[in-house]
């Protein structure tokens, strides 16, 4: 039941955010807010990616050569910068990640 409440809550929040400016067609944001919005995706996603690479187990820092999340993450950044193509980035990144995990003996097989 708890899970269903979570799902309804997430659904409501997500919809309200998406509907926000469609609901009031005349509403305009102040310039500083509009400027700030330009940085929301970059800031939020970076705040998830960086700890995900450096603290895959939720901390402390895992700055080591057997951290596949860190090494494959760096490789993925290079792929993204060179290709600028989302699918190529995801596919290439996953390939590097699983190869590394295989070499490091971190796959459950």
């Amino acid at each position: 039941m708890e899970i269903w409440w979570l799902i309804f809550g997430m659904a409501l929040l997500t919809f309200v955010i998406r509907y926000s400016l469609f609901a009031w067609p005349a509403l305009r944001f102040a310039p500083v807010v509009r400027q700030g919005l330009q940085y929301v995706p970059t800031a939020v996603l970076s705040a998830i990616v960086v700890p995900g690479m450096l603290m895959p187990d939720g901390g402390p820092l895992a700055l080591s050569l057997d951290n596949a999340y860190l090494l494959a993450g760096l490789a993925t950044i290079v792929i993204a910068a060179l290709s600028r193509h989302l699918l190529a980035t995801i596919g290439g990144g996953l390939l590097v990640f699983f190869l590394l995990r295989g070499v490091l003996g971190q796959l459950p097989i």
Binding site: L13, T14, I17, T42, I48, A72, A81, T89, F97
Partner: protein, 228 residues
């Protein structure tokens, strides 16, 4: 129909993402109904991925909802960008199109609105894109759950890396100027330092710090350009 066709490349991108979401959700202990229900009702890939990983780490409902809010805040940007086109439609259209406003839908319809405006019943095009992407997401989630129920030890594979790879693929091409790069670096650094804060407050602090630095640098650059 045209809309559904233009979404094809993005559907190819959504399918593996949905499969992995479904597999992870079932590994996290969600039932088939719950995992697919989340895709049907919430329909926000990154928020769903994060909700699953937070459930795995034992976070409470309030924390997950709060995180959903922060992660989905970027949709305000999309809503604002499409407002000039969608704002004149009837309310039921606006409700419908708002529900389907994901990163992928935005990417496809934004291009069309920019090139042709509201000409030729653009809302039908928009709805076609949204519907095609929605069906791809829900369908692949379902297949992912069924797959996850048959493969033991799925959680040990590290499929969550797919989420990191996706976010990297979104962020890196957006780092076109100094303020964007600074926003990414500051947000990442603050997220590391504030990792230990409870209730995912570290994520909020990191996001706010990144946004503040980005805006401050942009304003400074603007002033320099004016004074030169």
């Amino acid at each position: 129909m045209q809309g559904a066709r233009d979404s094809l490349p993005l559907i190819v991108g959504i399918l593996p993402f949905g499969l992995i979401y479904g597999a992870l959700a079932s590994a996290a202990g969600l039932s088939l109904g719950q995992a697919v229900g989340m895709s049907l009702l919430v329909y926000a890939g990154s928020a769903q991925f994060i909700a699953i990983s937070l459930l795995n780490s034992g976070s409470g409902t309030a924390v997950i909802l709060f995180t959903t809010l922060i992660v989905n805040l970027r949709h305000v940007l999309y809503s604002a960008a499409l407002q000039p086109y969608v704002g004149s439609l009837a309310q039921r259209w606006r409700l419908l199109l708002a529900f389907g406003l994901t990163d992928e839908t935005f990417a496809v319809v934004q291009r069309r609105y920019l090139s042709r405006g509201m000409a030729r019943q653009a809302q039908w095009y928009h709805a076609g894109v949204a519907l095609a992407l929605y069906l791809a997401w829900v369908g692949s989630s379902l297949v992912g759950v069924l797959f996850g129920q048959r493969v033991p030890n799925l959680a040990g594979w590290g499929l969550d890396f797919a989420m990191l790879a996706t976010f990297i693929g979104i962020v890196v091409p957006a780092l076109r100027n100094q303020p964007q790069i600074a926003a990414a670096l500051v947000a990442g650094a603050v997220a590391l330092l504030a990792q230990a804060l409870p209730y995912q407050l570290g994520l909020l602090a990191a996001a706010l710090a990144g946004i503040a630095v980005g805006v401050a640098l942009e304003r400074r650059a603007g002033r320099l350009a004016v004074s030169c």
